[in-house]
Amino acid sequence: MKVGIIGIGHGKFGNRSDATVQELAFEPFKEAIENANNLRREDIDALIVGSVPEYHMQRSLPGVVAEYVGMNPKSTWLTEAACASGSAAIRTAYMSIKSGMHDIVAVIGVQKMRELSTEEILALMGRVGDVQWESIFGTTFPGYYALYAKRHMYEFGTTKEQMALVAVKNHFYGAMNPYAFFQKEVTKERVLGSDDVASPVNVFDCCANADGAACVILTNEKLAKKFNDTPIWFEGLGSASAQMSLLRRPNLVEIPSAIEAAKQAYSQAKVKPSDISVADVHDCFTIAEIMAYENLGFCDKGKGGKFIEEKQSYIGGQTPVNVDGGLKAKGHPVGATGVSMTTEIVKQLRGEAGKRQVSGAEIGLTHNVGGIGQYTFVNILKR
């Protein structure tokens, strides 16, 4: 029996010092219930929260979220897979429904990151690398992606200009997304002239830490039509892992977990990369989007730079990517990101994306990477 999405909700991403984490979670949850027809909160059997607990002052998040959104005494729990926690929660929801354990499951991805200083976040995120042999030298998240970027440049001739073009594209679309942190366009010159973070990565090559929440509600094929005329179905769900330590990875020019997860998702959905109408990929850094084009098979290995240069990832190009602005423009509230990606693909497949609509979108893909590639979830959805 198929599993599909009947309701979506998305809160404003950005600096949300106006709200607590549970207040953030409430916004998209309410919207997602209203987004489904005739769904009542009491119809929902379980609430899964996707989040990274270390960023919050509040401990044990599902407890406070379930109470605040009014889900007690229903089942609730947390899933964590670093920046892919939201997609991990969705996978858990899918499994819960597929197994018959639950009929209707809500997933809230939520994160409030701006309770911490940038230095503290850099230290926390740096420790997503191996702390025994790497973090002791002051590695950072941008630093890890910089190591990928430098090697990608060396092996394939990828340039800083090509990286900058990813930021230009994502801000171009982000300017049309009312939920995005940054709703304005940037020029290539602005990106290239922005401050150094970890060479060759500049500030404008990085996504921003943000607060925010998103929600999707899933159910089985039997119930879906009751709550939505156009349920969006999960056709393929890929999930894979890779070494925690970059020192044990086969190379630094690709994310092996992304390649493996994509392979699983394509084969399960019985589609090819060229069948994808629209994709939301994990552009935590501009080089990450370039590697995503390659790892998802939208272009050959090493040709990711060329792919953006030729505008193949714009609407009208071969495969439109991150036409909601991506992490780059939306901001990256880590636990919310995978759920946010999923809401965008649902909108695109329903034909509700407005100015950013990819016309006739039939098959969508989400690619959510956790950490520096330790976890990747790739989902393929169809209308």
Binding site: V131, W133, G138
Partner: protein
Amino acid sequence: MPFKYFGKINFTPYTKVDKFSDYLQKGKLMGTKCKICGELYFPPRADCLKCMSDTFQWIEFSGRGKLHSFTKIYAAPKGFEDIAPYTLGVVDLEEGGRLISWIGDIPENDLKINMKVKVVPRMFEEIPEIKLYYTIEKQ
């Protein structure tokens, strides 16, 4: 010298491979070798990834290798602000395995991917709590 002295900030004072820091203090860069299947490891591992044996021996690595990638860190995490900006390099070691560390005395303009380098054991002697580390130098 206890493993807690390895690195500017050490997050893992207890490990089955804590002899690493004793050797490093003596100027030796050591990896491990699985006693059953002979697989070599750097960073050291107490338990073999390949055959799952939990018996290993220490093997001295030459420190020679090639620079795999590098980056200059401007935005430093907490505890490293005082030494920023600093350049990190990833080295493919001659015997196999990889390490990450600071680039030592190689001028920025001379840094090139694939250049031959040597990893040199060091101590932070200028601070009271002596800490062990290693740097990447020209071969």
